[in-house]
Amino acid sequence: MSTSPENPDRALLAWAKDRYPIGKFVEWAKHKTVPVGRGAFWYYFGGISLFLFLIQVGTGILLMFYYKGSADTAFESVRFISAKVPFGWLVRSVHAWSANLMILSVFIHMFSVFFMRAYRKPRELTWISGLVLLALLLGFGFSGYLLPWNELAFFATKVGTDIVGVIPLIGEPIMYVLRGGEDVSGSTLPRFFALHVAFFPALLTVFIAAHLFFIQMQGIHEPEAWEAHPEQRKTMPFFPHFFMRELLLWLITLNIVAVLAVFFPAELGIEADPFSSAPAGIKPEWYFLSTFEFLKYMPAHVGPLEGEEFGLLLISLGFLLWCLVPWIDRGRSRRITTIVMVTGVAILVFLTILTYRGFAA
């Protein structure tokens, strides 16, 4: 195929088509569809999560231009970003707010997938990769929280890593590695920084790619009712119909982030002092509040285990069962499906109540 010097756009396309199977991709994209129905709105949250992640990457890179990841300099560098760097406050606030909204969006995405039973065969690995992504994002949030090196983050990290240390056998070595010693100290900060800007992004990129790959391979889950009533089946093309709607929500999301960043900019507080006593009211980020509260309600001892050990065991077992949901509910027994769905509602209510109690405490 020859290029056309009169029309450079077409010339570029022709040049690419000459070398890569672009035609096949365009053809695939043209035929890619998304189900239309009552629950279609929830499909958008996967894309919103991805959009917020892209904001995180962009603002994170900008913050790294000025952030200095050591205990002596971190707080002052964040203060400098907030007070002196042009639009530094905006970048930092957008980074903080989009992180929170992203985790919220991922939770909504996960529960919508759960209640639409989209985890069932053949999408088991999509479900598992999604849960890994959630765990990685929580790790992102936990490691990023310490980076401003303020008092609140310092003691919240101390409490958080204490909880890790409770895990039998492996807990203490993990805690030691995370902290870079016995206690949270100046040695902890570079480790968290490295986790936040290198370790988690690398893993997250791999799992996002895998998650998207599975979705593209298998298509988006369709409502179960359509299997019995194929005549009800209704879809829309991904390009441009679904994509334009997704874009619309991205714009609205961006505006929400901007409003939050302007009216509720990220606070800095006072610099961490490892030798001071913990201030009252130390709380983790909202997405860890339910775990924090749950462990608070544990008795001192349960059998041979310490209360916190027992609580962590319960949470780990719960998470394992949550991962195994595609194999527990295969759609063969209505009774099992009902039990799984009721359990899902109970978990959602339980998490909401615990989070609320954590806020109110």
Partner: protein, 414 residues
């Protein structure tokens, strides 16, 4: 067999250990007897520094501690002295503590001039005159339970000193024959020094009675000594005062430098009302309204008052900006610098010099102005942010509308 051997070994060890413990404390049969009678001596002796140093009862009381019966232990010829009189206590303690050679062998870092100083104290002088109700060594240190001065249980540990002194000096009945006020302790506990020592437990920084009056040479300081005594801690204030025009004037009028304005035991935080020319103000004690000194006092009051008012305005402004989410830490740094400046100004006041004060006040004013600037800039920044948000929202809205219109123009779904 092995079990029997082990048990025997353990029993021997326990017996030997208890014997060794009993042998640790000197006192011999005196102690054994005094532990059985309810006079508290045996109990107190357990923690006494002398007992722990191996000094026995006979060192102060004489007697023969090797005898099984008290009559034999106290019989004539043993040098038994029984309960010591005030004079005997001083001589007995001073006998060792004033002996350089003796103390060098046992406690080389401990001073040996206690006795010498004691005789210069009011307590010592009265004792010489035959007054036995005065404080002697045991009155403050205790008799049989003497502890190290840095032991928190010792009656002469810094935070216990006011109560120890106050035990006599706060007892109006006990002191009735001595023509001394008995309000010192009550005044002291309300003072800045008392609060720092007794409430904040600042045993290293806050002075107790002995820090101003001396320990063994305790006496009311002379007028000339006041600046030196207060200046031990407040050295810059003292230096400024001694270089000020007030120092010779005070000397001429026989006024006790620091005490003349700040008082003695009831020393409180300085308030702006102290200065100025209103009746009751400290400066009015010497300066009549309209005098040069009164004018200076008025300048100090007005200056400090206006600086304080400015702080209120600044904090209101910075608080407003902070509540609205603006970063004002830089402004807070300026406020901190200005506050430190005010603290320095309070010290500089002791120079009683208007030019010196004006220089410091201009520094404070510069920091306050910078803080105000940060506050105003923050509020302006807030307006700019909201304006920027309004513009970006408008743009995003237009884009959203564009996308919505585009969606409506897409071919309908099947």
């Amino acid at each position: 067999m092995t079990k029997l051997f082990t048990m025997t070994l353990v029993m021997i060890s326990v017996t030997l250990a208890s014997t060794a413990l009993a042998d640790d404390l000197p006192g011999g049969n005196c102690l054994e007897c005094h532990l059985t009678i309810d006079d508290g001596v045996g109990e107190l002796w357990q923690d006494d520094v002398h007992a722990l140093a191996g000094i026995g009862c006979d060192a102060c009381h004489g007697g023969d501690w090797t005898q099984d019966h008290s009559d034999l232990a106290k019989r004539p010829g043993t040098g038994f002295r029984g309960e010591l009189s005030a004079r005997e206590i001083v001589s007995s303690c001073g006998g060792c503590h004033g002996d350089v050679e003796y103390m060098k062998e046992r406690k080389p870092l401990l001073p040996v001039d206690q006795l010498e100083k004691y005789w210069t104290s009011e307590h010592g002088k009265l004792l010489v005159k035959g007054e036995t109700r005065v404080a002697q060594c045991a009155s403050c240190h205790g008799a049989h339970g003497v502890r190290e001065v840095n032991d928190a249980k010792s009656p002469v540990y810094a935070s216990n000193v006011p109560a120890t002194c106050g035990g006599c000096h706060g007892d109006a009945e006990y002191m009735s024959d001595f023509d001394i006020k008995t309000t010192q302790y009550d005044e002291y506990v309300q003072s800045v020094h008392g609060k720092a020592l007794l409430e904040k437990n600042d045993v290293r920084g806050a002075p107790a009675c002995n820090d101003c009056h001396g320990n063994h040479g305790a006496a009311p300081p002379s007028i000339d000594a006041i600046t030196n005594i207060c200046g031990t801690c407040h050295s810059y204030n003292a230096e400024l005062f001694l270089g000020s025009p007030l120092a010779p004037a005070f000397k001429e009028k026989s006024l006790a430098d620091c005490v003349a304005c700040h008082g003695k035991h009831l020393i409180r935080h300085v308030a702006d009302e102290w200065e100025g020319d209103k009746p009751g103000a400290t400066c009015r004690k010497c300066h009549e309204q309209g005098e040069e000194g009164s004018e200076l006092a008025l300048y100090f009051t007005d200056t400090f008052g206006s600086v304080r008012e400015s702080f209120d305005d600044i904090e209101q402004l910075l608080g407003e900006a902070e509540v609205k989410g603006m970063d004002v830490t830089e402004g807070e740094d300026y406020v901190e610098a200005a506050r430190q400046g005010l603290m320095q100004a309070r010290t500089l006041m002791h120079s009683f010099s208007k030019p010196v004060m004006e220089e410091k006040v201009s520094e404070i004013a510069a920091n306050q102005a910078a803080a105000l600037e940060v506050g105003y800039a923050a509020l302006q920044g807030l307006k700019d942010r909201r304006r920027g948000l309004a513009i970006s929202t408008l743009l995003l809205l237009l884009l959203t509308l564009g996308v919505a219109i585009k969606i409506r123009t897409l071919p309908p779904l099947d």
